[in-house]
């Protein structure tokens, strides 16, 4: 393992993506999962200082089972296989505890939520006929559908159920109705959408593709979905939201055999962050709080705040370990336009914020940097829309269009926004004129246009 030692050294600046590297990352996530099950699976976690960190045991038990299921696709690696076996045996008593059985028994509308870990353990060969019997009763009850769910949550229910009895599932080539109703089948709001919207997108994709075990047909073309995934990736990188960013990156290995330049770059950023921190961190792990805690309290806090992002890196590594799904060692440069990255970066104002993606960008060769110019355009467009610098947005679109980079959903949504603003301005001016004619009339609120727009 000489290579692994080198990779984790600060001397090596360009990590290489190979099977050993991905295997190491997946094993690292599985090792963290082992600690999570040991420390938190029984009672979850209560954070009296920050309730946002509270964690129900059912959630982490289900997510650990999901990690196991994803890891099973890489079980041909002995190190992974051994960890799956150990972790599965640790998880079984929690996945099939009295608490879970009672949940399935008393709340049939939530039965698949309580049974999720049981289902995936069964899929891995760890079956339990008694649990299945109760689950069947609950799944056949009158109240089984007595809970209103959004489409991606409906997809989750269908996905868990189909994994419970995979041979009985209907043709995998069909697109699920829930998938057609989900965000996978409609354009996301890439400029103002919420984090939860991206969350719905990434989860729906996992449920439809089934981690490539028995994937179903996507409700829209893969290229359109991946174009939106790139926009979501840009946002996650800029916001250092690696939890969601890792989920977004799953879109490539779960839907196709090639990684775009932007996706390869995104993977590189996340891997670099993981190498520097020792795990893929989330913002809710705070050093100040860690320094205030000791012993078991400290370890539990750390695991509760860090496990999810670590699991996401494990899921991503597992998917990338599948045949022909590995990210490229170098950023693909076909189609890169000379000097395009610098032209976009001329509009970028990092301010005091030093993003990790920027550090990684400056390590790239010129051609590699130009290959991700489309991603840079998305990042800079979003930043300027957030700042309401619409004049800069217009100039960016012009520059992007001149280089053939504006053929993206973010650029077209930004152009639509400028069109709407143009109409808004006309309406606002008309109202202002009317109000000025009336004695004491107040002017309408005006949109905060940036200095560039005011000049034009």
């Amino acid at each position: 393992m000489t290579w692994m030692t080198k990779k984790r050294s600060s001397v090596v600046t360009e990590p290489e993506w190979n099977q050993q590297d991905l295997e190491w990352r997946l094993c690292h996530a599985l090792d963290i999962a082992k600690q999570v099950v040991e420390r938190l699976a029984l009672n979850g976690y209560i954070d009296s200082a920050d309730p946002g960190n509270n964690l129900r045991p059912e959630k982490l038990i289900s997510e650990t089972a999901l990690l196991l299921f994803a890891a099973s696709s890489a079980a041909s690696h002995d190190t992974v296989k051994a960890r799956i076996k150990t972790l599965a045996q640790m998880l079984i008593p929690h996945a099939r505890s009295e608490r879970m059985l009672l949940g399935v028994c008393l709340q049939p509308a939530l039965a698949w939520d309580y049974a999720q870990a049981h289902v995936f353990l069964s899929r891995l060969g760890y079956q339990d006929a008694a649990f299945d019997q109760l689950l069947q009763q609950s799944a056949d009850s009158q109240a089984k559908d007595g809970c209103e769910r959004v489409p991606y949550r409906m997809l989750e229910q269908e996905w868990v159920r189909s994994n419970w009895n995979p041979s009985a599932s209907r043709s995998r080539k069909l697109t699920r109705t829930s998938a057609s109703n989900s965000v996978l089948n409609r354009s996301m709001d890439l400029l103002n959408g919420s984090r939860e919207d991206i969350y719905a997108f990434t989860h729906a994709l996992v449920y439809v593709t089934d981690f490539n075990v028995q994937p179903r047909r996507l409700p829209r073309s893969r290229s359109v979905i991946l174009a939106e995934a790139e926009a979501a990736l840009a946002r996650c990188l800029e916001e250092q939201d690696y939890d969601l960013g890792g989920e977004v990156l799953l879109a490539w290995p779960l839907t196709c055999k090639s990684w775009s330049a932007a996706a390869a770059f995104g993977f590189r950023v996340l891997a670099g962050v993981e190498d520097k921190a020792g795990f893929l961190p989330a913002p809710n792990t705070r050093l100040q709080r860690l320094s205030e805690l000791q012993g078991d309290d400290r370890t539990k806090y750390l695991l509760a705040t860090a496990y999810h992002t670590a699991y996401v890196m494990g899921l991503l590594s597992a998917a990338a370990l599948q045949p022909e799904r590995t990210p490229p060692a170098q950023i693909p440069t076909s189609g890169a336009i000379d000097g395009s990255a610098n032209k976009i970066l001329a509009f970028f104002d990092a301010g005091a914020h030093r993003a990790h993606w920027l550090d990684e960008l400056y390590k790239l060769k010129d051609a590699e940097r130009d290959a991700v110019a489309g991603l840079l355009l998305t990042i800079v467009l979003r930043l300027n829309i957030k700042r309401r610098e619409f004049g800069i947005v217009r100039k960016l679109l012009e520059v992007g269009y001149s280089m053939g980079l504006a053929n993206s959903p973010v650029s077209s949504q930004a152009a639509e926004m400028l069109e709407r603003l143009s109409i808004y301005t006309q309406v606002a001016r008309a109202r202002r004129s009317e109000n000025q004619e009336e004695p004491g009339g107040a002017p309408p609120p005006s949109v905060a246009l940036g200095p560039e727009a005011r000049q034009n």
Binding site: W24, H28, D31, I32, Q35, E239, Q240, D241, Y242, V273, K276, A277, G278, F279, P281, A282, P283, T285, R286, L287, L290, S291, T299, L302, L303, A306, A310, D349, H353, H356, R387, E389, G450, P451
Partner: protein, 81 residues
């Protein structure tokens, strides 16, 4: 990039000027809270959704950035391999 307002500065100036009397607000809530809790009006009325009560909103400040990566590595031995 110019013409920005510093919200923190404005908030600090308002607080320093004691524009808002938090003690008085708390006292008022304490006095009228029990009767409002039993009133026929919907709960939302208390929050000011439909009526002009004082609104106290905790606006999601968004995610903070992740901590310094090197410092995280140094402080999280449990997660290192």
């Amino acid at each position: 990039m110019s013409n920005r307002v510093n919200h923190q500065e404005i908030v600090k100036r308002l607080l320093d000027a004691k524009v808002v009397d938090f003690s008085a607000i708390g006292k008022t809530f304490a006095e009228i809270g029990p009767s409002l809790a039993l009133a026929d009006e919907p709960w939302e009325g208390w929050c000011g959704t439909m009526r002009g009560f004082i609104r106290i909103l905790v606006v999601n400040p968004g995610l903070p950035g992740v901590e310094n990566l090197g410092a995280l590595r140094g402080a999280t031995g449990e997660l290192q391999k």
